[in-house]
Symmetry: C2
Subunit: 239 residues, 2 copies
DNA sequence: TGCCGTCTGTGCGGTTGCGAACGTAAGGGA
DNA sequence: TCCCTTACGTTCGCAACCGCACAGACGGCA
């Protein structure tokens, strides 16, 4: 499969001033992002950062007993590997490709070079970090207070925003892992949404039929996160 | 009450190189931090950052229906108002003093001056940001997967780490608000810990009797967060 | 001394999600 | 074609937590 994607499909890269972008371009390497690919494990030193163009990456926390929970999702609006620029080198998270596609990757050495210049990349990533923090804290709140139905709506909408199509390739088992709930719970919640005519799913393929309907049903968490992303990282970029 | 605290009691300030610290010192203003004081509201522009010396500040998310949940706690190891340096100016959180004490505050203009130098303060705050992110994501996980007993242990230990004494002034009602659970639930959980001889509480005063016992009972979340703080922000600082 | 507000303890029914087990149906490969 | 894997649906008992209601218990104040 030829990679017909431009790095500019990643919103962060697109938002960079032309000179910075041109400086970085030779070092950006296109990579396939197959479903399930582990970009890094918890505690592992990061060797690359990834700028997704048409894939979705989940940040997961893996517990001692093996169960896991999704902390945040990253698509073409962001970057995977923030810990590199934060100075910690590692994170206690796992990053996994949740929806297959492509990305551009950049070696840690190159990234640090650019950071050291204290230029637009640093400022941009700071804003993105704040948006990501909002997403994480909203996840904490949502985990505590909202029903599985609503959380599923939130998750579907977050995924949808990061994809071109309204079709997700995702089994209920995987969704359950992401949300940190049982597979049976997802079966019921998805059944509710299907009965309401909002989605249609069939053996690992979910089609969103009525996006406005989902937005009516979702908890406030989704809008809060979306507003914060739009506020901090307007797209198309103003430059 | 005279303020006999030095800014150096805040670990971040203490970790700064002497020249940077001396440059900032004239602008640091001591402030009282009474219980319940709201440092900023959700969506409000930040006018100051605060470096706590002997108080604890909670970051809370307030939901549409008025209920709230704690996202993170900040004590003398950190700074309140990170959003200022991230570039967003506001956050969708509320910051409230959870345990009375003191802090040093710094106007937003002064902070930005220092950030612009791209110096040690920026690098230090980046590391702190990563530690805070760890705390937030661990909160998300803990909310989903662990029992109220364990969450209460975690909360007590996090608070204890940020205080000099083993005595907390805190009603069950307030703890319930922080944890986003019912007051009755806290009554039961605290009763369990009291029956186990780990704590003693009496009308808004909690005394920790057996800290190692709490650490045995707490979920993994506490240690993960603590390790990450120790790794990213060693104290005393190496300089 | 008596009253009132705050803080804590307890009980009850209802809901939600967990854990495990089992059934079914649709591909995919030999 | 048959078998086996994957994906989804359903059930049942169990535990945790919620919402509500109310009771006691302590402390400050008149």
């Amino acid at each position: 499969m030829t990679n017909h994607h431009s790095p500019l499909e990643n919103h962060l890269l697109d938002a960079l001033p032309t000179d910075v972008y041109k400086r970085m371009l030779p070092n950006l390497e296109p990579v396939e992002m197959p479903l399930g690919k582990v970009l890094y494990e918890s505690g592992e030193a990061l060797r690359y950062v990834y700028f997704p163009t048409d894939c979705i990456v989940s940040l997961l926390y893996v517990m001692e007993n093996g169960s896991q929970a999704e902390i945040a999702v990253i698509g073409n609006e962001g970057i995977v590997g923030l810990a590199l620029f934060m100075g910690g080198e590692t994170t206690p998270n796992r990053a996994v490709v949740q929806s297959a596609g492509h990305a551009y990757c950049l070696s840690s050495a190159r990234v640090k070079q650019e950071f050291a210049l204290n230029g637009p990349l640093l400022r941009l990533l700071l804003r993105y970090t704040q948006a990501l923090i909002t997403q994480m804290s909203q996840t904490a709140v949502c985990n505590r207070h909202h029903s599985l139905d609503q959380q599923l709506c939130r998750w579907l909408l977050l995924s949808l925003d990061r994809l071109a199509s309204n079709n997700l390739v995702m089994t209920q088992e995987l969704i359950a892992n992401m949300l940190g709930v049982r597979r049976e719970g997802v079966t019921v919640a998805a059944g509710n949404l299907q009965d309401a005519g909002l989605i249609d799913y069939y053996r690992g393929h979910i089609t969103v039929l009525d996006r406005p309907g989902l937005e009516k049903r979702v908890c406030e968490c989704y809008q809060v996160v979306k507003h914060e992303f739009d506020r901090l990282l307007p797209y198309p970029p103003l430059k």
